[in-house]
């Protein structure tokens, strides 16, 4: 890699890193005030845990030679990876591995047992994330071989996390008494802003070079996010006569999710379409969610699942062959890419749901583990019961 691309990839890695604290604040602001710290920690600890796992064996399992379905242990401890392009790739990819399980946590806030979660993190990265990353991005991965397009991780990151979130929400059960209003809307907005900012690295870094692909990815990322945010805002205003800030922030995230797989395959006009669809579909999904019996508390599926699936399909629709070196989308007249995209989505959904479900079932019955805190701890709020801290201390004596 030339020094310009190294500079951009270093920076893009730092940007993707910042997305996880951004997510921590996004989710933290949406929780009720007695669970703000615990929600933040669910994301923040993903940085600590996954960084270590990735260096030790995660990268090797995801990107080691292996076979079409999983890597191997040849690169354990990053053995044999000298400072250079491969190491930079390992670093950039690490940031993706960090944020993916953090996304899941939106479904289980305010009641999941924290220590069990830490164990879950280790296992999930190993047996769910690493294989799916291998399928999509490793040279010999079976989905890559099928020419499935997933520029920056729509399936690996978003659909994967969203489906795992549903499995986790089913198994941990509903919150006993969910708060009504989000605790801190400014946190939601700063969280969404940091996510958006970091997503420039996520998408525009995924071409692994500072070149015209990166420039286009940057433009379409911003366009789709803005379009989806605006769409959500207008829907909110029209339906309720008020424009929810949390809603607009959510719309932006939905747009970012949807453009992720397509960022290397569409232009600005395609991005408008992707963003518009994301705004409409995620909005509808969030409205429908309370009608479902599953307490996916912060709407992980409605945003990352619906947005991610829409993005994967939209990639099949809007793909411009000029960007993809020949692969055509539906609009250009070729429906076959759409089929490939759907296979990739379905495979991810099936694998992620089943394996996540099994992991959690097992953790639930292991003595000393268990998925759920006690009633008392839940009532008290996890900030005090699991972390021994209060988010905001402002009484006279302090």
């Amino acid at each position: 890699m030339d020094s310009g691309s190294i500079a951009w990839l270093l920076m893009a890695s730092a940007l993707v890193f910042l997305m996880t604290p951004g997510l921590a604040f996004f989710y933290g602001g949406l929780s009720r005030s007695r669970n703000v710290i615990s929600t933040i920690m669910l994301s923040f600890m993903s940085i600590a845990v996954v960084s270590v796992v990735w260096v030790l064996w995660g990268y090797s399992l995801a990107f080691g030679e292996g076979n079409a379905y999983i890597g191997d242990l040849s690169l354990i401890g990053l053995k044999g990876i000298a400072p250079g392009d491969d190491m930079l790739f390992a670093v950039f990819q690490m940031m993706f591995a960090i944020i993916t399980p953090a996304l899941i946590t939106g479904a289980i806030v305010e009641r999941f047992k924290f220590t069990t979660y830490l164990v879950f993190l280790v296992i999930w990265i190993t047996v769910v994330y690493a294989p799916i990353a291998h399928w999509v991005w490793a040279g010999n991965g079976w989905l890559l071989e099928m020419d499935a397009l997933d520029f920056a991780g729509g399936t690996v990151v978003h659909i994967n996390a969203a489906v795992a979130a549903v499995a986790a929400a089913i198994l941990v059960g509903k919150r006993r008494s969910p708060g009504m209003e989000p605790a801190n809307i400014p946190y939601v907005v700063i969280g969404a802003s940091l996510l958006w900012f970091g997503w420039f690295g996520f998408n525009a870094g995924s071409g692994l070079a500072a070149d015209s692909v990166a420039i286009n990815a940057f433009l379409v990322t911003n366009t789709a996010a803005a379009t989806a945010a605006l769409t959500w805002g207008i829907l909110s205003q029209v339906q309720n006569g008020k424009m929810s800030a949390a809603g607009v922030a959510t719309g932006a995230v939905g747009g970012l999710v949807a453009i992720t797989p397509a960022a290397g395959a569409v232009g600005a006009m395609g991005a408008l379409g992707v963003g518009l669809g994301a705004g409409l579909l995620c909005y509808a999904a969030v409205l429908l969610r309370p009608k479902v019996a599953i307490d996916d508390s912060l709407d992980v599926f409605a945003v990352h699942g619906v947005g991610g699936i829409w993005g994967a399909i939209a990639t099949g629709i809007f793909t411009v062959s000029a960007f993809t070196g020949g692969i055509e989308g539906l609009i250009e007249g070729d429906a076959s890419q759409l089929g490939v995209q759907i296979v990739a989505v379905l495979a991810t959904i099936a694998y992620s749901f089943i394996v996540t479900f099994v992991i959690l079932k097992v953790l639930d019955v292991i003595p000393g583990m268990g998925l759920r805190v006690s009633e008392r701890e839940e009532d008290q709020g996890l900030d005090i019961s699991a972390h021994g801290e209060r988010a905001f201390v402002g009484d006279g004596a302090d």
Partner: protein
């Protein structure tokens, strides 16, 4: 001595405190509470902001003043005048409660009773 406590809309605090000063009130204090009464209908977005719900409890502010017994009518009139919505009175404008106080002491000089308030 009596305590007059008015639970009002937060946006009326400035009006009410001005009215208290004009009515000759020596001192008062206020703080925010969450109240529930007949008023239904502060519509707020819930969750991710997709849909609105009506909160049964709404933000209110309580303003409290301790005054001499003979001030009661005057102070209540002042509060009612200042707290009532511009539109002429509506549900949720608030309530005033009066209760007895047996003594008051000023910390700085230890003065007691009516002179202390």
């Amino acid at each position: 001595m009596i305590r007059i406590e008015a639970i009002i809309k937060p946006e009326r605090v400035a009006h009410v405190s001005d009215a208290l000063v004009n009515a000759g009130c020596q001192g008062f204090f206020y703080h925010n509470v969450t109240g529930q009464g007949r008023q239904r209908g502060v519509e707020v977005f819930v969750g991710r902001g997709g849909q609105m719900a009506s909160r049964s409890s709404v933000p209110k502010t309580i303003i409290t003043t301790i005054v001499a017994d003979e001030m009661q009518a005057k102070v209540i009139d002042a509060i009612v005048g200042a707290a009532r919505s511009a539109e002429g009175g509506e549900i949720g404008d608030g309530k005033i409660f009066v209760s007895p106080v047996s003594d008051a002491i000023r910390v700085s000089d230890g003065q007691h009773g009516g002179d202390a308030i």
